[in-house]
């Protein structure tokens, strides 16, 4: 299974869900496949899940999907006990785990290439619906369930090491523009003011 085919399956299913993504190849691939205004691809390691938790808490009627990577998740493991305590039922986390720091370009392995089992860590932090998938059919089943069911879900997706994202042309949209697009979309669909001209 590779990440791109997971995204190819998921992208057309997204309607009004909010998508929070982290960094690297997944940001490039998802941004290429989905122009959804509810995408917030924050471009930093260790920040996406926290932002997703915050969004899920203040928008309890909105489904939030978080895309993390193994490297980013390992950098921010402190999120898991917090998530296990808070149990936001409108949040689903997908960790695309290729077992390497792909940004290094030398395939330096992460701890998940060894004995670390992120799904087990999440489960022991109180996230009961925590699982690992290793093939596309299993991913599709979990993705559909995440969209249809109202329960906290943590899915580690074991994916191949790929470099296809390096062939994808990067968006010209900068982070500020990206953020405003997301916020204006939320303001419109939630019928509330978020960014104020005046304090």
């Amino acid at each position: 299974m590779n990440r791109y085919e997971c995204f190819e399956f998921l992208a057309p299913l997204i309607k009004d869900e909010l998508i929070v993504g982290s960094l690297s190849g997944q940001r490039v691939e998802w941004g290429h496949l989905s122009q959804h205004e509810g995408n917030l691809l924050v471009a930093c390691m260790g920040g996406a899940l926290g932002i997703g938790i915050g969004l899920a808490l203040v928008l309890p009627n909105r489904k939030v999907l978080v895309f993390e990577s193994d490297g980013s998740m390992l950098l921010s493991l402190y999120n898991l006990p917090t998530l296990g305590s808070l149990q936001p039922s409108n949040l689903a986390v997908f960790v695309f785990d290729n077992e390497i720091y792909s940004g290094t370009r030398i395939s330096e392995p992460t701890a998940t290439a060894g004995k670390t089992d992120l799904a087990a860590v999440a489960r022991d932090c109180g996230i009961a619906q925590s699982t690992t998938v290793r093939d596309l059919n299993s991913f599709q089943r979990e993705a559909k369930a995440a969209l249809e069911q109202n329960s906290l879900r943590f899915v580690v997706c074991k994916v191949d090491q790929t470099t296809g994202h390096r062939q994808i042309r990067r968006s010209n949209e900068d982070l500020s523009e990206h953020k405003y697009r997301f916020v204006r979309y939320l303001e419109r669909t939630e019928s509330k003011e978020i960014f104020r001209g005046r304090g």
Binding site: L57, N79, V183
Partner: protein
């Protein structure tokens, strides 16, 4: 800290429109926590690390609930990367409520706190995060309101550092 000062901080935050507070508890300002917990104006979220305090508050703010992060001064060091890439680079308004331990006016100062406390303003300056040091209750509500107004105006973090009478 006198109970009255804690009450005024919480009232000031509420009046300024703060509705979400992530926090890692500490000693000096901890009296604000039970007051916020019993106040329905606030959604109060305990965290395990100030870095996630920043990222969770950012999510809340982007979702439309004006947010603050309450932490000890050490938390600014711990969360500096998220403050930079989420708070500053992405640009998300949030109020940092910081117990300025180890500062000149910290009534509980000791060798444990002095080094990180003295470097804290320089750390915030290196991040280009505006801050105000509060030593007593004079103009407390106006300073909170001003900091919140500034964070909305620049859509970035703004810090209030509490020392002096707030550290008793």
């Amino acid at each position: 800290m006198e109970t009255e000062l804690a009450r005024r901080i919480v009232a000031g935050l509420r009046e300024a429109g703060i509705g979400f507070v992530s926090y890692l508890p500490e000693t000096r300002l901890s009296q604000i926590l039970p007051l916020m917990r019993e106040d329905p104006s606030f959604m109060l979220v305990p965290v395990a690390n100030e870095s996630e305090g920043v990222s969770i508050a950012a999510g809340a703010a982007l979702g439309g609930r004006p947010a603050a992060v309450y932490m000890e001064g050490s938390g600014v060091y711990v969360s500096s990367y998220n403050l930079l890439v989420i708070g500053k680079r992405l640009g998300v308004p949030m109020l940092l409520i910081v117990a300025h331990y180890g500062s000149l006016m910290d009534r509980r100062n000791s060798f444990l706190y002095a080094a990180p406390g003295l470097h804290l303003p320089g750390n915030l300056e290196s991040l280009n995060i505006p801050y105000e040091v509060l030593e007593d209750g004079q103009h407390l509500e106006n300073k909170i309101k001003g900091a919140v107004q500034l964070m909305h105006a620049i859509k970035q973090p703004v810090a209030l550092l509490f020392t002096g009478d707030f550290t008793v």
